[in-house]
Symmetry: C2
Subunit: 764 residues, 2 copies
């Protein structure tokens, strides 16, 4: 190493350390944002990209319910709804911001007095182990959650390491103090979901076991090791299983009391203690995808002590370190709260999915060893390819490369030989459409961040894109579009496949694979095949080559789109807006289309059936609460009126993100909505991941410093910034005028300074 | 090594090799013996102690049935009943001779013509995939089974390696030839038994997956890897699961046809081929307790070729090698068939339970590595401690030591910290009574065969015997007997605990653990506490210290005994017959008791409810079909009339063992009945395993040569042997007169020659 390089590193490290001391960013994180209504975030404790998400549950659908489309499935995706009056308990796994649900493993609930092994009702929490609570006694921070459980006057506190949840319960004096371990509870706990439960009380402070479910993840097993700070006085269980669970010679034993070996479909356990007034009973609860042995190793390695405050502090230090990847200044504290909570939300996933030893359960249900990378899970790719992974390519390139390696491991383990579509916990759940893994992979390779074999990665992309039995791809490959009569949401599929194909072509080009480049460049033009010049919209086509007659350009149901309508989806050619605009009648007509999108006045009931969003998630006919048009406001950059991009994005920031529990207008979608916020606040956005370009917008912060992983620093400044000064008069990069409304990735990673000169008047 | 020793070894090896060439012992094995009525043996293919037992199924209870006590549970313990007219298919795992049931994993059935995915009925086999067959087209050998399936004119042939089943199906010409893989089928397939199934069609010749059940083994998973000799033309499945199996976004796909990724509760699959007349389609089907990866490794390591004849030959060579551990001469071919089939049955289990890599699933459901031993499973200990493990201590000492190590691994993995009671496939099923692991461990240690830490083994025995919450032990420890009002079968438990305790004391003595010796010697006297001098029987006592008033000395139900009555169980003090006889009124009165036992005339209906045996399993009131009195006929040796032992045991051999499918009078009980046959035929029997003594009886063979593992040879000769000459006039050991009716283990393992001089007249 040259002295000069060493010096640079030392200086960067010093600067970095200095800023840690100076600026407590954790204070701006409010995990309660998004917990009311549609945000579907959870308020509990977790570390960045942590395997454990330890968070309160306010309700779920009862496990007896057999309706897979119960509306509560949707409402309780994150287990917690801010306006609920009771808490059922605290579980260890949660999605952040999804629109479908699973997880909620291993519910823990403290109680005193007569033992109750049913949760009780919201209306009458004292009829069961759940408890009333109030927000005045609730506190949520990054990696810390506290609430007073009113029914039994117990204070619950939660914190976590990567793989271990740490509970601290402050009890009143009680002869009968209980810790309930509910192994039947789960988020979206439909009939038949719980497949099997296995528990061992290893000694008077250690319990191990697993829970196996058939839900959104079809075959999922979570192993645990749980340890108490104080010996169990006695314990027991109730088996709520159907009578067909085999008992056999186990009838020899009374399995309900102090019997250490338990298995069944539906089990609730209790552990009894005697407590003094104010006594703290602590629980460390470790997870593993591999085995109870793995969970125990995770526990012993990550959390060898019982110091709750230290664990909380250590986790918050991790948050501080991660949040410092962007240090912003803003005029309004709410902007800082929105910004750092959004950044917090982007760092909640994908989540770590391996033991401290590197072992993890793979898609093939075998155990694997992650060689040279951290294995991650929960890839909500239809959402996150748009801005979350591109954001990671700027501020988390190492992790993003590991995420790509995790996706490639999934491919290796896939019997379909496909990259993940929507995957979590060693399962493909096939949610949504497209094969957007290829976008994430392409973006990482094009931007030079992927540490691995790019040729293998390209092979995986190509194999996935050629997989004929997948979701209309056979017809798409054959005819250049997905016929609506063969495969629903056909327009969305055709457009997204075409974009994904373009991504593959970009990698092929970089790797000099001409034949693949040609094949996928041709396929990337397929968006043209669903454009209907007679109406000016992308429109569903039938297998006879004719457009379907029935055509409702506003409806989002049965029209050939998914989570969008013709207005929004017709804009979806991110790989080539210029050609799209040309085909749609040129820039002038296109601006009219965009203007109408943002300003048309639609009756409330029209969007009542639009999925995943509140009325506030919609601006005109533009649906920010869903993803397909997330790039739309930036398309003015390809017309003569980029100032409208600046105006729209500032309006969206203002209308769609609030520093309140109901502050998110739609599902956060595993960080995609938050990533949009971060990029847009900084003044640029990746319209087409897989290209090296970012479209410029209008920054909402005053300044930002990004200490990059390569040691360089990228700075952004917005001169004359204010709520009204949303228009950009000029932009300089390293003091040179930027004459295009675009920034390249290279320009960021080289380090430098981007300055926006703001004004209240558009530059026409 | 001294030249002399080397020479001895060379000579032994030469002699051994010579006899291999000379004497085909496999020809005497008839696996059909015991397949009719109560024997519960299976006729299929397996290697000695093999993990795979590939055998035909003639019926089972349907999976819809929810009666855990369905009589068919009992009838179909081994899947096959000789008098059934149809075969449903061939499965890979079977118990040999049990009285309760489980296993029957992965049913394979070939068919042609219209695809049928239901098994059909016995009355109308053509209504499903099952087929009629006749015994004239059936052939069963050690490691080979063949049958013609009449319905579709398919010849099925089966053979196996340790971990791989090898199927060969000779088809007629067929455009539609099918191989059914029924993953719902199982032996004792009660409602709720199938927990989960997972299958991947990896490519056009390889299928992997697993089956998870909740049955006699509470939490059992079997993994497989299956490969075809010919590429699959097409394949598919039908899901018979209840509707509550979650489908979600998997609905995108038609999972019923050529979809490679299948999971659910109740699955049947089919694989289609086109066949020429006489074409052989072969399947190699490997198992693992660890993973599909492990199953695939087992397959590739053990059976890399497709030569069915070679696999069959290799397996039969293994049988030849094992059967040569006793080379007998007999006057009657049927005696040789009975002898070598019995020896075959003793070598069917415990079965190998680890992958070729040494990995296996443990009782704690974690994967473990067997360090320095072969891990075995299926310990039917209440049966096999009596004669099977003692037999292994003579002719399979290395394996028996590994079995003890397997039991100690079970102990290490047990959350109860108990040795196995009745264990199989990584599960304790708690069947029957006692803690007879300690007998097996004690016998191995006392006889000098255990390779391991005897002190640790003793600790495991002691911990098990002190486990208060187990089956009345708390009362036994406290009061010296199990009170019938606290824990049923109390007399049997008290007697067997006392014997087990004596075993522990013997080990403690050998290891100079005086306190343990004293404690367990005292406990071993507890049999005295249930002896009722007023009736002369062992009798149930209540917790108030008084004998229960109601007392039926003949009934086997509700009388304080299990699988026995007062007549039989009153003889159960194997550790001290002398004292027992004294307490029962002395030798004369005792001989009367024994004589009555064997000669009393009981009405048929009296034993109609005796478990596990046919009418033929009973001689007088002596029940040979169950185990508790297996030592009884040898007890005359402790009286003045040992000639009655000689007479009785020859009668039992003759009456209870026949070279026919219905030739076993009771369940073979994992080899215990057969081990009794082997010992008794050789002329001695281990009345009290844990001692080094064998009681002499009356040999039924003409001569026997036992080439021992230590390089020595032990020979037995019966001079003047015949069916009538059942009485022993004198016995010499190495040409010296043996003046006691006992032989010691040392006398066997030192090598030498035991000669019985037979006569038609008793030596009074």
């Amino acid at each position: 190493m040259k002295i000069k390089n060493l010096l640079t590193i030392v200086l960067v490290v010093l600067a970095y350390s200095y800023s840690v001391a100076q600026d407590n960013l954790v204070q701006y994180v409010n995990p309660l944002i998004g917990t009311h209504k549609m945000g579907h975030t959870y308020p509990g404790a977790t570390v960045p990209f942590g395997m454990v998400q330890l968070s309160p549950e306010t309700d779920t659908i009862p496990y007896e319910a057999d309706d897979h489309y119960n509306p509560l499935v949707y409402k309780y995706c994150a287990g917690y709804q801010y306006d609920d009056p009771t808490i059922v308990g605290f579980t260890h796994t949660h999605f952040s911001g999804t629109g479908h649900s699973d997880l909620g493993d291993f519910l823990i609930m403290p109680s005193v007095g007569k033992l109750q092994l049913n949760p009780g009702t919201e209306q009458n929490p004292k009829s069961g182990f759940r408890s009333a609570f109030s927000h005045s006694n609730e506190k949520a921070e990054a990696n810390y959650y506290r609430v007073k459980l009113d029914d039994d006057n117990i204070v619950a506190e939660l914190t976590a390491t990567n793989r271990v949840g740490f509970h601290q319960y402050t009890f009143p004096q009680a002869d009968q103090a209980h810790i309930i371990l509910d192994l039947m509870y789960g988020i979206y706990n439909h009939a038949g979901k719980n497949i099997w439960t296995f528990v061992r009380v290893e000694n008077d402070t250690l319990v191990t076991g697993y829970r196996q479910t058939n839900g959104w993840a079809r075959t999922r097993t979570v192993y645990f090791a749980m340890t108490f700070s104080k010996p169990i006085k006695q314990y027991g269980m109730k088996d709520f299983s159907k009578p067909d669970v085999y008992k056999g010679f186990w009838r020899k034993f009374d399995q309900t009391k102090n019997f250490p070996d338990i298995a069944g479909e539906q089990i609730r356990m209790y552990f009894d203690f005697q407590t003094q007034e104010g006594e703290k009973v602590k629980i460390k609860f470790a997870l593993s995808s591999v085995s109870t042995k793995g969970a125990l190793e995770n526990l012993q390695t990550e959390l060898p002590h019982w110091d709750f405050e230290k664990a909380k502090h250590d986790g918050q230090q991790q948050w501080q370190k991660e949040l410092q990847r962007i240090r912003v200044k803003a005029s309004d504290k709410n902007d800082l709260i929105n910004f750092y909570t959004a950044l917090y939300h982007t760092f909640l996933g994908p989540t770590t999915y391996m033991d401290v030893t590197g072992a993890y359960r793979g898609l093939d249900q075998n155990n694997h060893q992650a060689a040279g990378f951290t294995n991650y899970t929960t890839f909500s790719l239809w959402d996150t390819y748009r801005a979350l992974h591109p954001l990671f390519n700027v501020i988390q390139p190492k992790r993003n490369s590991d995420m790509v390696n995790s996706m490639l491991a999934h491919y290796d383990q896939s019997v379909h030989k496909m990259l993940p579509v929507w995957s979590h916990h060693a399962n493909e759940n096939w949610c949504m459409i497209g094969y957007h893994s290829v976008s994430v992979i392409s973006d990482a390779i094009i931007k030079g961040n992927f540490q691995g074999d790019a040729y293998q990665a390209l092979d995986a992309c190509v194999a996935t894109a050629r997989h004929k039995s997948y979701d209309g791809l056979e017809y798409y490959i054959q005819s250049g579009y997905v016929p609506e009569d063969k495969s629903g949401s056909s327009v969305s599929k055709t457009l997204e496949y075409a974009y994904d194909d373009w991504c593959i072509a970009q990698v092929a080009k970089k790797l000099n694979k001409q034949a693949i480049y040609d094949e996928f460049t041709k396929r990337s033009q397929n968006w043209r095949n669903v454009y209907d010049a007679s109406t000016g919209y992308m429109r569903p086509k039938l297998s006879d080559g004719k457009f379907r007659k029935e055509f409702d350009v506003l409806s989002t149901h049965g029209q050939g789109y998914i989570e969008g309508n013709a207005w929004n989806y017709s804009l979806y050619v991110p790989q080539d807006p210029e050609q799209m605009i040309a085909l749609m009648g040129g820039k002038k007509r296109f601006v009219q289309h965009l203007d109408s999108l943002f300003t048309m006045n639609l009756p409330d009931e029209f969007f009542a059936h639009t999925e995943d969003i509140t009325r506030e998630g919609i601006i005109g006919n533009y649906v920010h609460g869903n993803e397909p048009a997330h790039h739309a406001a930036y398309l003015y950059n390809w017309t003569d009126q980029p100032w409208k991009t600046q105006e729209r994005v500032r309006m969206i920031l203002q209308k769609q993100y609030h520093a309140t529990p109901d502050g998110l207008g739609g599902n956060d979608d595993c960080g995609q909505m938050s990533a949009w916020y971060i990029f847009t606040s900084l003044g640029f956005y990746p319209v087409a991941p897989g290209s090296d370009q970012y479209a410029l917008g209008s920054p909402a912060i005053q300044s930002a410093v990004l200490p990059l992983e390569n040691g360089k620093t990228f700075e952004i400044e917005a001169i004359n910034q204010s709520k009204k000064n949303v228009y950009v008069q000029k932009v300089t990069l390293n003091d040179k005028l930027l004459t295009r409304p675009f920034l390249t990735h290279d320009e960021i990673v080289k380090g430098g300074k981007l300055v926006f000169y703001m004004s209240a008047k558009p530059k026409r």
